[in-house]
């Protein structure tokens, strides 16, 4: 659905006095997105996520590189690309001066639907995105969550095969975020729409995306499913909590001996890197039991996406 090849975008640096100063916003980024995938473009602020999105949605012309979007060449078939995609920018799409219904119908008309079809499609989307009661409300009076649902509905009026969502949940409360996630999943599951979404919320990327593209300093530094990105951080962590300090020395000895790693102590918690699988875990637990140690809890936890992300991006900054 997307095939981006060596995309690069250079802007003049307006913060510098020299007219020749430049900023490389996106640097040699290549990736592919298959039909039906939900792919997250993950990175800190200023990483190049929005610029990448703007290039792929024809809003910004790449300085170099090529891309095929929804089967069309970005450089020579921009109009076909626009007819095949939906886009929600991080700033929104809807105008304060219009009503919900007017926005849905207008965008249908701008996408070439007949007035009758634009109205019918607008009504269907309003119902699907719980906006039907708000049809005659001015956009300026909507809540953040309602506005975001409208933005997404507007991007779907022409039944696009591919939707770009640029930081779709920024500024939303937890309930609205969860609701939006459900809508994004439903979009793929019921309509087969491919989604490329940018975010800097790691929990969102973890919960929603089939695959992540981690971008930092304008460069793509990792590409894979969330679980694979997490595994790049190394093994799981085994944390054993004991009820009293008297148990700690024996527990440290058992864990060191069983894993070959040096455990770390924090209060009554002992954590150790744990490369073994569940079979080995059973053996470790058996040794704890054999040593007659009492435990309050045992937890085996994979590295979090936060840890992986910070490790990846800090490596990039250091490089």
């Amino acid at each position: 659905m997307i095939r981006a090849s060596h995309l690069r975008k250079i802007y003049p640096d307006r913060s510098r006095s020299s007219p020749r100063s430049q900023v490389v916003a996106v640097d040699d980024v290549s990736f592919e997105v298959a039909a039906g995938e939900i792919v997250g473009l993950l990175g800190p602020n200023g990483a190049g996520k929005t610029t990448t999105m703007q290039m792929l949605t024809t809003l910004t012309r790449p300085t170099s590189g090529r891309a095929q979007v929804a089967g069309y060449d970005l450089a020579t078939q921009a109009r076909y690309v626009r007819a095949a995609i939906g886009y929600v920018s991080q700033r929104g799409s809807a105008s304060d001066d219009s009503t919900v219904g007017e926005e849905l119908v207008d965008y249908g008309l701008l996408h070439g639907l007949s007035p009758t079809d634009a109205f019918a499609r607008g009504r269907t989307l309003a119902e699907r995105y719980r906006l039907d009661d708000l049809w005659d409300r001015e956009v300026g009076t909507l809540s953040g969550g309602q506005r975001r649902r409208l933005d997404i509905a507007m991007s779907l009026v022409h039944r696009p095969r591919l939707v770009f969502l640029d930081e779709p949940t920024v500024g939303l409360d937890p309930a609205s975020r969860a609701s939006l996630w459900a809508h994004v999943r439903e979009l793929r599951d019921t309509s087969g729409v491919t989604v490329l979404l940018s975010t800097h919320y790691l929990d969102e990327a973890d919960a929603l995306c089939d695959r992540l593209l981690v971008i930092s300093g304008g460069r793509l530094i990792a590409d894979g499913p969330p679980a694979q990105i997490k595994r790049m951080m190394g093994p799981d962590t085994l944390t054993v909590t004991v009820p009293s300090e008297t148990e700690l020395p024996d527990l440290l000895a058992v864990l060191t001996d069983a894993t070959g790693e040096k455990p770390e102590v924090s209060g009554l918690e002992v954590s150790v890197r744990f490369a073994g699988g569940t079979g080995t875990l059973a053996a470790v637990l058996a040794r704890i039991d054999a040593a007659a140690l009492t435990t309050a809890s045992v937890e085996l936890r994979p590295p979090s996406l936060d840890e992986a992300f910070f490790a990846l991006t800090s490596k990039e900054v250091a490089a």
Partner: protein
């Protein structure tokens, strides 16, 4: 998607937005009244020196002022849409970028036509004398100029992308036009050196042409020169505005 339908959608959106802003409507409609009521008597004090009815000079001048200065400021509305993501959303539809520009501009021309009509009708009420056919010609010239400066204002807005910079630049363009084109007071009463500087500005010739048309001299050189300048400025403004719209963000 036909360009005509996209243009119509954009036009209707602008009209709808304005009709919802009653305060904006009231201020817009009050402006011509204020100019005629408060500036007309001032100009009347120089009636002998000017050799004409002050309102016959003032109304065409105000039409051009509205076409130039009022139109450049439409860029602020576009900047607001850009900041709200509205323009990007429209630019990701298959609608032609020209249609996005033309639809907005046509609305601005309608807005200027309504304000201009009020101005002309009130001008007659205040004592303006004008030729009917010439008045229509002068009015149409002013509307064409409105379209030109709206296209330029939109082009500047998408190029600069910043309200503060846009405001400074629009003021830098508007002030010389206001002071040097003889919009409010004909340059015929100005010293020779100021008239020479004024002659450099296309708007000076356009104001002179519109005034001549209102006076009934529609076959005069002044009207022809004003028309040629207006057409030239319009072509240049639309080429600039259209290219800026198409290239925004690049």
């Amino acid at each position: 998607m036909s360009a005509v339908r996209s243009t119509a959608v954009m036009f209707r959106r602008q009209v709808r937005g304005t009709l919802r802003k009653r305060a904006y409507l009231a201020v817009g409609l009050a402006q011509p009244v204020l100019y005629l009521a408060l500036f007309g008597p001032l100009l009347g004090a120089f009636a002998g020196q000017l050799g004409a009815n002050p309102y016959t000079l003032l109304v065409p001048g105000l039409l051009v002022q509205q076409a130039v200065i009022g139109s450049l400021f439409v860029g602020f509305g576009l900047l607001r849409d850009m900041q709200a993501g509205v323009l990007d959303a429209q630019r990701v539809t298959p609608a032609s970028r020209w249609a996005l520009l033309t639809g907005r501009t046509l609305y601005n021309v309608l807005d200027a036509a309504v304000q201009g009509l009020i101005l002309v009708v009130l001008g007659f009420a205040f004592g303006m004398r004008a030729d009917a056919l010439g008045g229509v010609v002068g009015f149409l010239l002013a509307l064409l100029l409105t379209a030109a400066f709206c296209a330029a204002g939109y082009g500047l807005a998408v190029t600069l992308k910043n309200q503060q910079t846009f405001g400074v630049l629009v003021n830098a363009i508007s002030l010389p036009v206001l002071l040097l084109s003889g919009v409010l007071i004909p340059m015929s009463v100005a010293p020779g050196w100021l008239q020479a500087v004024s002659a450099i500005l296309p708007t000076t010739h356009i104001v002179t042409g519109v005034r001549a048309a209102f006076a009934g001299d529609i076959t005069s050189t002044a009207v022809l020169v004003g028309l040629l300048w207006t057409v030239g400025v319009t072509i240049a403004a639309f080429m600039y505005g259209g290219r800026a719209f198409a290239r925004a963000n690049r």
